[in-house]
Symmetry: C2
């Protein structure tokens, strides 16, 4: 088994961009893209909380990067690179690290990003990982959670609920004959590269569950969000799970779709900006507070728990 520095040299230094200085210095040095603002976010993943120890390390790596990339997507930003922390218990071997770094390498190529630095530590209990993502945006063009206005439509990209159903399937609570749901839970697709500035009034990524994340847009605007459950787009695999999984779909996390506030009249521009990615109007912002989920008779549907929170 390699020691700390040999592991860095073998598994991480090959991933480093020039900002990372071969991972031999105390910090990364980055020349900001001229005339741009920097966008920075950090997300962590812990064994037993965000992933299972038996998950493929390459998929853990990909999800770590993609959750962070999704935060950039929600801000309308472009990605440059990332810093990585790993805290590993003694039973994590070099094969695990080799597979983990291969997952990083694949997504670095896919998203055009590079490793810029990081920190490695031992851990007494379980694997702890974090990535700090570094991106950029045109000045003043960053999207935010606070701009929704009365009458703005509530839109989502893609389909909602697959990841939560996939987690249930991985726990043996649901069939997933095609594997689509499981795959969605393990390997999200951040919605990067959509030119949404000037089209949407607010944006967030659906990481903690549609209802809860819509709640953040409502709080940001001091408005009520009203969505029709039957309009929330479902994949074929999710639809096959039936209506009894509605709460799981609407409150479960890890979709990493974008949830958008869109002023009336901007729907076509939004569709054009999203290209091949489906985007669906599921509701509207009204005066008031909180999230109302209604059925097609306008009756309010209540859920036991709106979404994921950590304590």
């Amino acid at each position: 088994m390699k020691d700390e520095f040999a592991r860095i040299a073998a598994y991480f230094a090959p991933l480093a961009g020039e900002e990372g200085r071969g991972l031999r210095d105390d910090a990364a040095v980055l020349r900001p893209p001229p005339g741009r603002e920097m966008v920075l976010s950090v997300d962590q993943m812990l064994e037993g909380v965000h992933f299972f120890k038996t998950d493929d390390p390459a998929l853990i790596a990909a999800k770590l990067l993609r959750r962070n990339l999704s935060d950039l997507a929600a801000m309308g930003a472009q990605a440059l690179g990332y810093l990585l922390t790993t805290a590993l218990p003694a039973d994590v071997d070099d094969a695990w690290l080799a597979r983990f770094s291969s997952g990083l390498a694949r997504d670095q190529a896919q998203y055009g990003i590079r490793l810029m630095g990081g920190d490695s530590s031992s851990s007494l209990h379980g694997i702890a990982l974090s990535a700090t993502i570094i991106g950029h945006v045109a000045p003043g063009q960053a999207l935010g959670r606070q701009g929704a206005a009365v009458g703005d439509g509530i839109w989502v990209t893609g389909t909602i609920g697959d990841a939560a159903l996939g987690l249930a399937a991985r726990r043996g609570k649901l069939p997933d004959p095609t594997g689509v749901l499981t795959n969605r839970s393990l390997l999200p697709e951040p919605r990067l590269g959509l030119a949404l500035a000037g089209i949407v009034s607010a944006a967030i990524d659906v990481s903690d569950g549609l209802v809860q994340d819509l709640g953040h847009l409502c709080e940001g605007a001091c408005l009520r969000g009203v969505i029709r459950a039957d309009l929330v787009p479902a994949s074929a695999a999710a639809a096959a799970c039936g209506l009894e999984m509605l709460e799981t779909r609407l409150t479960g996390g890890d979709d990493y779709e974008l949830l958008l506030a869109v002023p009336p009249g901007n729907g076509e521009a939004l569709r054009a900006a999203c290209g091949d990615l489906p985007v669906t109007r599921i509701g509207v912002f009204q005066p008031g507070a909180g999230v109302h989920v209604i059925d097609d008779n306008e009756q309010i549907i209540t859920f036991a728990k709106p979404g994921w929170r950590h304590f």
Copy 2:
């Protein structure tokens, strides 16, 4: 006990600078200082590895920030702010968080930095923390580990070994009647603000132990570093521990002093740049490889373990 969002609002949002957007968005947005390069680093601290559960949370917070600030000091950079991750088990209460955030607030004021964003998670086992520090430097002026040349002096700021002795004292293995050693172990002082560009040829902060960190400067330059043990500056409290603690002092971590390569003739400029902070020449770079610690008869002193590594 507050839930996740109430904790963010109560303990962390008051620490946020404008880049943090009230900690309500998916990412921080930062306008880079004009004409500067960005310097980024991340360091983590885990319960049982980097601190004890019974440590004062305000001191844990301070050490988390200061370890990161020390990385900026080693690069010759100025600090702007930081992102924070917390992973907390269920038995960490609001009082712990209140005390932790008070430690952050105090050091934010001391070092002129602000919180820009972060991520909070539950943890199944133990507290895990990380901070991503964000700083800046004049273009091309970042210090590094790779510039030492044959004949450059090896210099250190301050005194070496107090923190490792303090850790031994906290474990009951040493007396520490004045508390100086313990304090040094709990509350390091990053050596920020020294104008070292053009004076030193390489720099690193002493975080993993003097011998091991000097080894990084040697590897960076493909040279041998030779230091005289009796020249390595000791505080009065460390000197009182006697010569039998020499290995602990020279190989123990957490000093956060700067270790510098200084071309001949730059010593006076270095002293001037360091002002009231003592700086001491302890050795010289020679052709070869590795670190040699010698006594005042030029005999090599060998140690069982050169410094801290995580696995």
